[in-house]
């Protein structure tokens, strides 16, 4: 514990109230527990069908309205990345300081202020994991510091190695780096249905999410 222990009457009173009320119900609980078998608390979900994880991932990406391009090697990736950005007419591109992004697009802007970031046309980041089951990207703050580049500009391009595609949400949760103060899961573009349940994409975050999948050479 980093902070000194200070007397907190609110904390003490809430915890005491919890304990007293649980004690009141203890005899009733003993009765119900005798009758009920609890299912296992940490059961594994049935393993997904043994299909190619990349194919499952891209199928799900399409289902959630994301775009994707599969490339082999970093040289091809750099060309594809420039083409994607040119096709959407992105001029000011915010790039993260992840080594892969620096190698593929060294001219992208880093260290932007909040106001500067708000004027960018596109953001390029790395993603640490993909989830085949749901078409989800996982960004860990320990390895991807510039998560705002994936959120503020209207277009987000994410770079992901095909080796980092997990089967399921559970697999991804077991593999993420707990040293990250922020882990962000992204599934498709920003969306809302708050007006008569009409789907509109790109409300506070990007309208377009494009995943550049890197296969090793």
């Amino acid at each position: 514990m980093t902070s000194p222990i200070i007397a907190d009457p609110a904390r003490d009173q809430i915890l005491r109230s919890i304990r007293e009320n649980l004690a009141t119900s203890a005899p009733l609980d003993a009765m119900t527990h005798a009758r009920r078998d609890h299912p296992p608390l940490v059961a594994r979900a049935p393993s997904p069908e043994p299909r190619d994880p990349v194919q499952r991932f891209t199928t799900q990406l399409e289902a959630v309205g994301a775009q994707w391009t599969l490339v082999r090697g970093e040289a091809e990736a750099a060309r594809a990345l420039r083409r994607i950005l040119a096709d959407v007419g992105a001029k000011r591109v915010a790039g993260s300081d992840a080594p892969l992004v620096r190698r593929l697009l060294p001219e992208s802007l880093t260290g932007l202020t909040r106001d500067e970031l708000f004027t960018c046309d596109a953001g390029v980041t790395s993603a640490q994991w993909g989830i085949a089951e749901t078409g989800t990207l996982v960004l860990e703050s320990a390895r991807e510091r510039s998560r705002l580049a994936s959120l503020v500009p209207p277009i987000h391009v994410a770079l992901l190695s095909t080796r980092c595609i997990c089967d399921s949400l559970g697999d991804a949760l077991a593999r993420v780096d707990p040293a990250s103060h922020a882990i962000t899961l992204i599934t498709g573009p920003s969306r809302t249905s708050d007006i008569e349940l009409t789907l509109v994409v790109g409300v506070h975050g990007p309208q377009t999410v494009h995943i550049l999948l890197l296969e090793e050479e």
């Binding site: 980093t2 119900s25 608390l41 705002l148 899961l185 708050d194 975050g205």
Partner: protein, 467 residues
Amino acid sequence: MTFDRDARAALNDPQLRGALRQATTLFGERRRAAIASVADWEGARDRARAIKDETLLHLDRYLEQFTANADRTGARIHWARDAAEACEIIGRIAEERGARTIVKSKSMASEEIHLNAALARRGIEPIETDLGEYIIQLAGETPSHIVAPAIHKTRGQIAALFAEKLGIAPSDDAEALTAAARQALRRRFAEADLGISGVNFAVAETGTILILENEGNARLTTSLPRTHIALMGIEKVIPRFADLEVFLQLLPRSGTGQVLTAYQSLLTGVKRRPEDEGPEQLHIVLLDNGRSRMLAAPVTRQSLACIRCGACLNACPVYRQIGGHAYGSVYAGPIGAVLTPQLIGLERAAHLPYASSLCGACRDVCPVKIDIPALLLHLRAEVIERHAGKQRLLERLAFRSYAAVMARPRLYEWVMGIARLLRITPPLPAWTKWRDLRPLAPRSFRDEWRADAVDEKRSLYDVTHNR
């Protein structure tokens, strides 16, 4: 009674009923389609409930573990016994941090404590950034649905509201309206120095809080300003990081019918290096406000298993007709009818346990299998307990006599015979005001049965002997 009046007003509002029918039906259909993709949906529900039960039975221990771990990673923990204390804590932090522009993402707990009004009294009203919440804040209304706060408003009403408040050209195109809100809110985000959010799950094992959303406003709220305040009810804690999987399977599917919402933010303390993105300070406010009392009995304790998906609202034949506002409480629908009396006191919400037909649709769709009808009956019994008096005496007498007659077949036949002879109908004006009570049949079922049995013997005899 205001519920009676407001429910009637809602029933006479064809626009509201149209919007409700469309929205709740669509949510229901999407939910059914989404749960089909889970191999063992029932198993997932059972597991989630078991995790919640385990947590609630040791809530003190898990809260201590959660706060110790959150504190270790740099979050500051605050405990609030009630709504006033929570508002005071948040208001004080906002003042200490010199906050001028406060952005807020959707949080039902903040509605529960009426945080916006409390902060407005200090001259610092936060700006709601979820599109639905923003709409109702502009309109000066309250949310009418847990996950879709502006479900009751039509596109035309929103268009008129935006034209008036944002000065845009009237348009009833949802995309144009959304774009206008995005523009207006971007300016606020650019200057925001404090962000307030809710919490969906808090992991004891790691001190992590998880926030689900679709729009990206919660991500902006929790990462742009230099201070983030997260408000959570004490029941949001779950034991292990791995437990998140089953809840992430259940919540989006039950709430919006999505396999997963667009964004999940898993936040563990504050940034480790000064050059990282994210707030300098994270304050987590733990709110009791009547929750610890619900632990006193298994039937009421299950209210704390609720993950606020809103599926019971969409399934409820009462909510589907009257919408959220008629309930007159922050939490509407079946879960609101059981939570509200427990949170604010039965004497202030005695009507809510009766705002149900007890059909059980809420229990069937609940992802954590809360037996809402049982809770409603439990609360109704409490209402009756408290209203001792003449009416209760008469009611008791009536049920005693009924029981005495029903337990004695001969007495029953005799009483019914007299009633039939004199054509007596029971004096039940409250019942017959809305329903017809059929007159007694000229012959009782027992008489018919006996006569039939004789006939049947005779015909059986005829068949066997005359062939």
